[in-house]
Amino acid sequence: MDAILAQFFNLEIMAKALPLVLKGLGVTLLICAVVIPLGLAGGLLAALGSVSRNRALRWASIGFVDFFRALPPLVLLIFIYAGLPFAGLRLSPFAAVTIAFFLNNSAYFAEILRAGLLSVPRGQGEAARSTGMSATQTLAWVTLPQAVRNVLPDLLSNAVEIVKLTSLASVVSLGEMLHAAGLVRSITYNASPLMLAAGLYLVLLWPLIRVIGRFERRIAS
């Protein structure tokens, strides 16, 4: 029992690891702060393309979404970081992570937003257009607010997935939380830093998951 506590819950080692792990948490949050807005923007464009009347645009958008949903994000990340240099393109770990997660999450956000856009009755847009609103104004003030509201739990769930996804960045030695914890583990030969990181993920995500559950119940009722 003591051996387990010493190996996994060694407070002394945790305290030592804390500054580095917290710095890693900062990087994790930074990746999220960049990737979530970018992914939402890319996802919105792809979603709009996928419901467009223009056939070429529609197929291009659907192809993009399918491709990046099918491709494992870790494969994509390693390809961008370690594969592209063979084509003469060498990216920093942060840039590689940002691009890989942007592509991956644009596809997921696109699929969610597409469902949201399709959930808004046609008459909504027609009413707006009949008052002289442009297509863009109609999207911004009538269609999109309703679309987002209808798929809010899914959007938030995907945001949670992104926070978890950031741990993949450790494979390209970007100093996010898991990488930082792994580093301390390898120096101390002790798993406590990993438990610390796991605890911080939980603290970060648990409230979000509660909120999503509440939204889901409200929409169901």
Binding site: A127, S130, G132, W141, V142, P145, Q146
Partner: protein, 250 residues
């Protein structure tokens, strides 16, 4: 502000044709609605009434033909469609109120975003429009908190607030419980009394008799017959009109 010139019909439809794929929905529709005239459109389901109305603000794109509002072209190249649409109010069968906005928000949206009025001016105009439909006290309610009849009156206020020259109504009362129909018709009567030009698709025969200046009967995508309510209801010339009216009363 309005470009309508006296001497021009408020709405003119010339040689309008429309197909969906190979299915011809409208054939050579010619129609002229005078200023302040209320024209009723009757016809069996699928006869093209909605499509004709929707062509009149180009929610449906005509295949050929010409449409003019107050003498100004709605069709053809170089038309500023969003500007023209503000001159044409539309009221839908299913209300199509924006559920995420209050009644006031529904009415102010185009005033603010299209006509770029400052918030206070837009809200004053919206309250005035809501007052005209008898719902000044419901400004802060969301559509879900309103009855069907109230929702449709808000939708009328939303169209009225833009001060259109013509209003199109597509079966404005057919989604309503019978006891709520009267309030909406009363508002329409009031709008007409203030001089609005109205093209109304509806099967409210009694209202048509009382309020319409002219009745048009459509069948198979053509205008089959038109005249005053007395003529069309009292002495229909065409067999198809007689059959339709017989079914309605039967």
């Amino acid at each position: 502000m309005s470009d309508a010139r006296p001497g021009h019909p408020a709405l003119q439809v010339r040689a309008l044709n429309k197909s969906f794929g190979t299915f011809k929905v409208l054939t050579d529709i010619d129609l002229s609605v005078d200023q302040s005239e209320m024209v009723f459109v009757l016809g069996p389901s699928g006869s093209g009434k909605s499509t004709m109305l929707r062509c009149c603000n180009r929610l449906e794109e005509p295949d050929s033909g010409e449409i003019l509002v107050g003498g100004a072209p709605l069709t053809g190249s170089g038309v500023n469609l969003n500007a023209m649409r503000q001159r044409i109010g539309m009221v839908f069968q299913s209300f199509n109120l924006y559920p995420h906005l209050t009644a006031l928000g529904n009415v102010t949206l185009a005033l603010r975003r299209v006509q770029k009025l400052p918030r206070e001016t837009a809200e004053a105009a919206a309250r005035e429009a809501l007052d005209r439909v008898g719902l000044a006290d419901r400004a802060g309610h969301h559509p879900a908190q309103l009855s069907g009849g109230q929702q449709q009156r808000v939708a009328i206020a939303r169209a009225l607030a833009l001060r259109p020259e013509v209003m199109l109504f597509d079966e404005p009362t057919s989604a309503l419980d019978p006891e709520l129909v009267g309030d909406v018709l009363a508002v329409m009567r009031d709008v007409k009394a203030q001089g609005m030009t109205m093209l109304v698709v509806s099967h409210e025969m009694k209202f048509a008799r009382d309020a319409a200046d002219r009745v048009i009967f459509m069948d198979g995508g053509r205008i089959v017959e038109q005249g005053t309510p007395e003529q069309v209801f009292g002495a229909p010339r065409e067999a198809r009109t007689r059959a339709f009216l017989g079914r309605l009363h039967g």
